[in-house]
């Protein structure tokens, strides 16, 4: 029995040592002990010279096999230890996922400009041109071109801010219709929106500055029924497909016939509530067929062409959609409000 007979035993011991190594450092010690330059296996290779020539190849093979087996054992153990270590490290990196997120400033458009763009988008889909006009207008365009001569009683509802001379702040975006008609030939359909001004003292539902949307369509055979169809489509696109619309007679000097459109109350669905004053209906818009005088003043033959027109305040639809109860909030610019709606 020689030292060579201990080869299987060494392998068993090495395997055991690897298995016992609890850390990467301990395993390194095992590796050095067996596989190092001064290790057990190197030592055995050096002893090979003393073996007889006939035994040497067999013993060499056995030693090589031993070396490979130990290397494999160390390698396997190392992999196990590394994976466990990484697991432990990652476990240590655990965070409290319930801590709040860190916000960046996030921007938001104003609810009124968003509402105007939304409305314009609906009409864009119906083939309307979305256009704009100035806020400072001539009295002539703002009123007379819309069939409201000086001292006309209908001007009372549109008490204006004058800027000296013939200039005033527009009281409605309907005046943009006049500008469009001046530089177009029928057929045409256009919509505009923006700031308007009336001398109304500030309260919960009035502001001297407010927003309006106005649209119109001129063509051969444009009918009141088309006005109803287009506005019903708008109401359902804006307020929801279940919305119903009701038209009742009204008066605007620039339309004949004139109507007001009410929608079924978006709060109570028409059953009656405080917002619709128990009526189930909300007036949101004035409309009608352009008065022949208005078309004539724009050089459009009212016998050949007919036209419908409509106009609405923007605050009210926005208030209804977002359940806002005070018009002053729109212009106060409190960020808590602006970010909510």
């Amino acid at each position: 029995m020689t030292e060579w007979d201990r080869i299987p035993e060494i392998e068993r011991e090495a395997q055991q040592a690897c298995a016992d190594a609890a850390t990467e450092a301990a395993l390194e010690e095992v590796r050095v002990r067996y596989l190092g330059r001064q290790g057990v296996i190197a030592h055995a290779f050096r002893a090979l010279g003393r073996a007889s020539a006939e035994d040497r190849p067999r013993l060499g093979q056995a030693l090589n096999a031993l070396k490979a087996a130990v290397e494999a054992a160390v390698q396997r153990r190392a992999e196990t230890l590394t994976a466990a270590g990484r697991r432990a490290r990652l476990t240590d990196e655990r965070i409290d996922v319930t801590l709040p997120g860190r916000p960046l400033a996030s921007g938001w458009t104003h609810v009124l400009s968003r509402t105007m763009e939304d409305i314009a988008q609906i009409f864009l889909g119906l083939g309307f041109e979305v256009v704009e006009g100035p806020e400072v207008e001539r009295d002539h365009d703002n009123f007379e071109r819309l069939n409201m001569p000086p001292y006309h009683p209908a001007r009372d509802a549109q008490d204006s801010f004058y800027l000296g001379g013939e200039w005033l702040l527009r009281t409605h975006t309907t005046v943009v219709d006049v500008h469009v008609m001046d530089c177009r030939r029928p057929p045409m359909r256009a919509i505009s929106y923006g700031h308007c001004y009336r001398r109304d003292p500030v309260d919960a539902s009035h502001s001297p500055m407010f927003q309006q949307v106005d649209g119109f369509m001129v063509g051969e055979g444009v009918r009141f029924s088309d006005l109803k169809g287009v506005l019903l489509h708008f109401a359902q696109a804006f307020f929801g497909p279940e919305t119903r619309a009701r038209f009742v007679p009204s008066y605007f000097p620039f339309t004949e016939p004139s109507a007001e459109m009410a929608i079924s109350c978006v709060i109570c669905g028409g059953r009656g509530c405080a917002v619709c004053k128990r009526s189930g209906w909300l007036e949101i818009l004035g409309c009608g067929m352009f008065h022949p005088r208005v078309l004539e003043m724009s050089g459009i033959d009212p016998q050949r062409y007919t036209a419908f027109a409509f106009g609405m305040g923007v605050e009210r639809p926005a208030m209804l959609r977002h359940r806002i109860d005070d018009i002053r909030l729109f212009y106060e610019n409190d960020l808590r409000f602006l970010r909510q709606v």
Partner: protein, 759 residues
């Protein structure tokens, strides 16, 4: 118009509940603002549109109710149905020629209904002389005289009705005039006959500067576009609007001179607005009363006065009516009505509706229609179409979508660009504000630029138009600060107004940004890395300009005086709408220029102003001249206008050209770092410009990653550390080439800026 139902029922049987009646009235254009319960009666407060003076009366509303409910209309004593009794009404009052005293006295004496003519010797025409000098302003004037009145209270039923209708009871004479007005829509005015000098009434233009103390005890100054009723010496009432105090009915009045007239609506409307006097009478006349109303109202009043005051109405009404209104015949083509409305209404139904409304209709291929005199709003075919559909029911029109020629939808370029601006600014974390265009023109030493003034402001806080958006957004910061919201980053996109030269105010598109406080928040985020500063603002402006794809811009610091640091040859001054120098921290503001022209100004708010506004942080502001920027984006001159353009159909060109994709790099880059030590007074912008010029086209990007002062850098110097990215588009750059470029850069920095270079 407040309509007590108890009163209404005198003229028409109402067999439906008040709520149902209100609903049905709304359906024909008379919506009730309120259904009020007053005592045991119900009062409908109807919203009457400006075109319906006839519905400013209980009887007028009764006519609409009768039509709705299919009931007959009952006329009151002394006020017969104008159609049935048309001839009779006409026979009572003979139209006169242009008035004069002699003409008036020659007129046929007529006995108003209900007067006790038997014992009368004198007539109204003997007692009063009426001269109408302005027949255009006053097409018709009637007067009656009532003797032996005992002024006192009117009967309880009349007081109750007046008060339910919202008119205060005064005495039995004045109450009758108000009662008749509310009942028939014809305003009347009662004078104390004995106070009328010369017992003479003259309708004439006021003399400029003439004064009259009116019933409301205010002395009014008149102008010569206004009409007055004068007596022998002075005005006694402002025609159609309000009476004078001197001739008021008082307790000692025994003889009443009663006026009922038809006035030109424009004259009344103008005077009422000029004087700021809004009365029930004026409201009816300016909308256009009924020219056949005055005589009928006189007869009705005679009945009531006899009943309530014991007065004796003298026979013979004075009636100056030189050109009696002749009803106009309007053509209504039923097929036109059908094609305008889009609903098939039978011609006979149209005839039925129009007759029920009081029109005379001659059927035919086109209907010949005469509207009643109390409907001045019905003048052309479209008015008749509206009357037909109003009664037929708008709800019976089917909704359709337009047919025939269609047009492609489009968005005006400036509006589409607005949208992109809003997108990019909200991406940068800004919240859009909307502030009032109306501002206070305060003589502020910092900003003395002239504003566009409002001639008739509502309050002195809103007496001018803004010329800059900056004060508004700054105010928004202050509002939030006052509510303990310290982190606020906002913008506003809107119009500013500059006094124009002749052509009205100059209106421009503008943008303002105001930002303060943290742009990132949360736990363990150090405040010094989270606060908005100048460079945060600059990044926003850079991002905006990149989005608009305008030509390259430069940021130029401004000196304390507000003078721009630029060669004198660059030209140009402050862009008109940009805020002036006094706003800014003297060391921290700049212009953003494109091709030498300022398009924006930005910087830190002057700390003095920040403390005036009680801001918790330093605030950063920018104002951008969008009018110029949009023009540049469209490849036009910065001075061309882009707002309010009517784009040329069919599809307008966008103002902002689409940005062009330049391909992804195909060859690797080489990065080299460069540390430059320079006096602090050398602007970084200049260093960057030198680097770019020296490096040439292979320099792809330049990134300043460190700015350092302190040892071992000499005092008043700083170290700027740049990372340069070099790349050739067509080959792999080799290290030697990169080194050569860097060498050029180093030489340029040394020779042009005296820089020391650190390894």
């Amino acid at each position: 118009m407040r309509v007590p139902l108890e009163w209404l029922r005198e003229y028409v049987t109402v067999d439906v509940a008040p709520e149902v009646l209100a609903e049905r009235l709304a359906g024909i254009g008379l919506p009730a603002e309120e259904i009020a319960h007053v005592g045991d009666d119900v009062v409908l407060d109807l919203e009457v549109t400006a075109n319906r003076p006839d519905c400013m009366s209980v009887l007028g509303v009764g006519r609409e109710v009768a039509l709705l409910l299919g009931q007959p209309l009952r006329y009151p004593d002394g006020y017969p149905d104008p159609r049935a009794g048309g001839r009779r009404g006409a026979s009572l009052v003979r139209p006169g020629r242009r008035a004069s005293g002699a003409a008036a006295s020659r007129r046929r004496r007529t006995a108003p209904m209900g007067s006790d003519a038997a014992g009368a010797r004198a007539t109204a025409e003997d007692r009063v002389r009426v001269d109408v000098e302005d027949a255009v302003g006053c097409p018709r004037f009637t007067a009656t005289v009532i003797e032996g009145v005992r002024v006192g209270s009117s009967p309880a039923w009349m007081q109750r009705r007046l008060e339910a209708a919202g008119v205060r009871a005064i005495n039995n004479i004045v109450d009758v005039t108000n009662y008749v007005m509310l009942e028939t829509g014809q305003p009347m005015h009662a004078f104390d006959y004995d106070a009328v000098a010369g017992h003479r009434l003259v309708v004439r233009r006021a003399r400029s500067g003439e004064t009259l103390e009116t019933l409301d005890e205010i002395t009014r100054v008149l102008d010569d576009d206004m009409l007055v009723v004068a007596d022998g010496t002075r005005p006694v009432s402002i025609a159609g609007i309000i009476g004078g105090a001197d001739t008021e009915i008082g307790p000692r009045t025994t003889t009443v001179l009663l006026e009922a007239a038809y006035w030109n609506p424009l004259v009344i409307g103008r005077a009422a607005r000029r004087l700021g006097v809004r009365t029930e009478a004026g409201a009816r006349f300016e909308r256009g009363a009924d020219p056949s109303g005055p005589s009928r109202a006189q007869m009705r009043a005679a009945v009531l006065l006899a009943e309530t005051s014991g007065g004796r109405v003298l026979p013979g009404m004075v009636d100056v009516y030189p050109r009696p209104a002749t009803p106009k015949t309007i053509r209504l083509r039923p097929d036109r009505a059908v094609s305008v409305l889009g609903v098939d209404i039978a011609p006979r139904e149209m005839v039925h509706i129009l007759r029920a409304l009081g029109c005379r209709v001659t059927p035919g291929r086109a209907l010949a229609v005469q509207a009643p005199t109390f409907r001045p709003d019905v003048a052309v075919e479209e008015d008749l179409i509206e009357e037909v559909i109003r009664v037929y029911g708008y709800d019976r029109i089917p909704p359709t979508l337009p047919s025939g020629d269609t047009t492609p939808g489009s968005v005006a370029p400036a509006l589409a660009t607005d949208r992109r601006v809003r997108d990019v600014l909200t991406r940068c974390g800004l919240v859009e504000a909307m502030t009032l265009t109306l501002v206070r023109a305060a003589p502020d030493a910092r900003d003395t630029a002239p504003l566009v003034a409002i001639a008739n402001p509502l309050t002195q806080d809103h007496n001018a138009l803004r010329r800059s958006l900056v004060p508004g957004v700054l105010e928004a910061l202050a509002t939030n600060a006052a509510r303990r919201i310290a982190d606020a980053q906002m913008f506003e996109l809107g119009r500013v107004f500059l006094p124009g030269a002749g052509g009205g105010p100059d209106e421009r598109r503008s943008l303002a940004i105001a930002a303060m406080g943290r742009w990132r928040a949360g736990w363990n985020v150090p405040e010094d890395q989270a606060l908005v500063d100048f460079y945060h603002l600059r990044w926003i402006l850079d991002t905006l300009l990149a989005e608009l794809a305008v030509p390259a811009h430069e940021v130029a610091g401004l000196r304390e005086s507000g003078e721009v640091q630029r060669p004198a040859s660059a030209g140009g001054g402050d862009p008109p709408s940009l805020s002036r120098a006094g706003w800014w921290h003297p060391g921290r503001f700049a212009d953003v220029r494109i091709g030498g022209r300022p398009v924006a100004r930005c910087g830190e708010l002057h700390p003095d102003l920040a403390s005036v506004h009680k801001l918790p942080h330093r605030a950063y502001l920018a104002e951008v001249d969008l009018e110029a920027l949009y023009a540049l984006a469209a490849g036009r001159g910065a001075d061309s206008r882009v707002s309010d353009e009517m784009p040329v159909p069919p599809v307008p060109r966008s103002l902002v050209p689409a940005r062009t994709f330049t391909g992804l790099p195909r060859y690797p880059e080489i990065e080299r770092d460069l540390a430059v030590v320079l006096p602090e007074t050398v602007p970084a912008g200049r260093v960057e410009a030198i680097i770019r010029a020296a490096a040439g086209p292979l320099l792809e990007a330049i990134d300043l990653f460190d700015v350092y002062t302190g040892a071992p850098i000499p005092p008043d110097h700083r170290n700027l550390a740049y990372r340069l990215r070099l790349r050739a588009p067509d080959r792999t750059l080799v290290a030697e080439e990169a080194e050569e470029i860097l060498q050029q850069v180093r030489i340029a920095l040394r020779t042009e800026a005296g820089a020391q270079l650190r390894e």
